[in-house]
């Protein structure tokens, strides 16, 4: 017992202190939307009932173990059982389960309701990032499809239906504050409805083990007021603006054209002869797609939301801002002073060193030479400097 004391104290203390955590963005007990609220309203009473039952059983077992422990006494008279007691102990759990079942089914059906959907977003999982496609939706000013990744932007108070699928293996989409998890399965479309009550950023993570960087496959849902969402849409639909001639960013555009457009698409980018650049990730990447970098600096994250595009101070400023001011701060995007240059440069310098990926060119025989994740491009520091300047223009 003396040996167990430190273990028991340590475990209890850790659990107690963990329950006091204030910075827990993926807390499943803090719903921020009606769908998550429905789950919360179900899980709390179920948790209470399960806790009470567990306590009763544990107490009874502990009592029996202590009271009837072996003291060398003779074995008591053996009887076959007590039908009345057994029937009672069968009926009570059955009744509890039936009651829980009724409310569970009701919640499941409520969560699967789609007839009142107001917005649709196609969500595609891939090792190890999420892509978001917004089909045209005139009601929200989406006159042309929008494509983005890392951060899912939605208007508050809007019933958004996520049509999920995957390009490679099974992933699972989960923003705990907005709804339960739903698998994204290759070759299938699964439906997941989310809705946010207030503007803010809600964190999530892939919850189906999907390979080497599963733990780094994160996502963030950004809820904006309807007015701010309209501004975000308008920004996403803005045509591409090439950097001014003679600037470092213009040189960066050339580096981007030579090094990055084999896989990465920037809508509107053209070559010197005026022909549009169409990336061919299907020829270089196993899953056939990489993030579209149009308006990259309107997002706060990159590399599957594993890294922040904002410095910690600027990010905290956005995350902790009040609902009223959140939209304006988020829509400001990434400015040069707020750019997390350390991670971005590190990523451009050697991406596989920052995020585990199958990107070793000598070990790609099984994938016909195609990568899973971004390889080390061997860029010079000068090229990185130019690329950073160029990427900053993609707002």
């Amino acid at each position: 017992m003396r040996r167990l004391k430190p273990f028991i104290l340590g475990t209890s203390g850790t659990l107690f202190l963990a329950s006091c955590a204030t910075n827990a963005p993926q807390d499943t007990w803090k719903p921020k939307g009606p769908n998550a609220q429905k789950i919360d309203s179900l899980q709390k009473p179920v948790f209470a009932v399960a806790g009470i039952v567990g306590l009763i059983v544990a107490t009874a077992v502990t009592y029996s173990v202590i009271k009837f422990r072996d003291r060398g006494q003779p074995i008591p008279k053996q009887s076959h059982g007590n039908p009345a007691l057994e029937i009672t102990l069968t009926i009570i759990p059955a009744l509890i389960l039936a009651i829980v079942g009724v409310f569970t089914f009701r919640t499941v059906f409520d969560l699967n309701k789609t007839s009142d959907t107001q917005m649709i977003i196609n969500v595609t999982g891939q090792q190890w990032w999420w892509e978001y496609d917004y089909p045209a939706n005139n009601e929200y000013g989406i006159t042309q499809p929008i494509i983005t990744s890392g951060q899912l932007v939605i208007p508050v108070g809007t019933k958004v239906m996520l049509r999920e699928t995957s390009r490679d293996v099974i992933h699972s989409y989960w923003i705990p504050a907005l709804n339960g998890k739903r698998d994204a399965v290759p070759g299938r479309i699964t439906i997941n409805r989310i809705e946010a009550d207030k503007p803010g950023i809600y964190a999530g993570q892939c919850t189906e083990f999907c390979g080497l960087s599963h733990a780094n496959m994160r996502m963030e849902a950004v809820a904006l007021s309807k007015e701010d969402f309209a501004k975000w849409v308008a920004n996403q639909l803005k045509p591409y603006v090439a950097p001014a001639d003679g600037t470092l960013a213009k040189e960066g555009e050339t580096v981007f054209l030579n090094q990055c457009t084999r896989c990465h698409q920037v809508n509107g980018l053209t070559r010197a002869d005026g022909t549009p650049v169409i990336a061919a990730p299907d020829e270089n990447v196993w899953s056939g797609a990489v993030p579209n970098l149009s308006h990259l600096m309107s997002r706060n994250t990159f590399a599957g939301a594993m890294f922040n595009l904002l410095t910690p101070e600027c990010r905290t400023d956005v995350w902790k801002s009040e609902s009223a001011s959140f939209g304006a701060k988020y829509l400001a995007g990434v400015s040069e002073p707020c750019l997390n240059q350390t991670d971005l440069r590190g990523w451009l310098r050697n991406a596989p060193a920052m995020k585990p990926m199958y990107a070793n060119p000598t070990q790609l025989a099984a994938t016909n030479g195609k990568y899973r994740g971004m390889p080390n491009l061997g860029l010079s520091e000068a090229d990185i400097e130019k690329l950073v300047a160029y990427l900053l223009t993609l707002k």
């Binding site: 595609t124 917004y134 390009r167 479309i189 056939g288």
Partner: protein
Amino acid sequence: MFTPGSKYLIAITGLSAVSFAMYMLLVHPSALGAVALIGLLAATSLLTGITLFTRDGHTAEDQTSAATLDTPTPSMWPLVGAAGFSLLLVGTITTPIVFIFGIVAMLAALVEWTVQAWSERSSGDGAYNAQIRQRIMNPIEYPILAAVGIAVIIFSFSRVMLAINKDAGALTFILAASAISLVGLLISVRPQLKKSIVLTIAVVAAVGLVGAGIAGMGVGMREELVVAGQEDHYAHKECGAEKSEHFDKGVSETISAKSGADATIELIDGKLTAHAQGIEGLQDSITVARSNPVNIIFRNKDAGEFRLAAYLGKTKVADGVSEDLITCTQLLPQGAEQWLTFSIAKPSVSGEPYTLSIPGLAGQSVEVVVP
């Protein structure tokens, strides 16, 4: 000079040499066959040499041992070995499967007879010797026999199912499953049932199944499967005039595909409509992800035969030369439906819009948008 064992091995060695020579000269030789026969020849040569050198293990001394039986028990393995050898020879000039059966039979005979002979030298008690043999061989024999039994059941049943039509197949499956369940139920509720009755049922069922399988093989596959095989329907990709009666028929029956439909495209009264999964109402375009299989159901509700064609952009066939990439369904009569699966790698901004349309029906198309 020549003991009985030596004579037997000399004969096998000679026949191995002859069969190897015949195989190399008369049959289209394969590496496997040549290795098997040369291996057999080498093994028998070695055993022959050993038995000649040791004079068959000093048999005179063994015969006087009090620990052995006076006479060996009857054994079927020499017969099996001989039959195996015959099959091996026949197989060299007929089909490989007979050759393989011959080798398997010979190996089985070799192992079984060796262990049997060894066990009979263990003691003068026949029952004890048999027990020794069983302890060694049963862990090998039972799994092999079970595997062979299962293989025979599956093969026989599959021959029956391939021979009869689909409806009869479903009925047969139901009846067979019901019969097995009934017999199982009978045995479980009547555990005192005579062993001979259970054995009779099992034997009758086995003989019946094998007999039906042989009959099925005799009849051959049903016509639909024969035609499908001749058409090579899985490679049948043209969007022109129909050549096949069985093109991609199976895909419409795939449960996984049915659960993964991106959209249903219907032709009604000359109008093409789209209904994307999970979206209420009809749409005139569908938005799909890049580089991801898209499953479409095409349903023809119009009078006449129509197919759905998907324009998927252009594909480069040579330097500076590209051609339209089009895939399509079969011509479907009114009321029929079929699946169409495709994948688009490039976003819509890359050129002409991707479309789903009905050949010969102008002005009706559904745009496929790839962000």
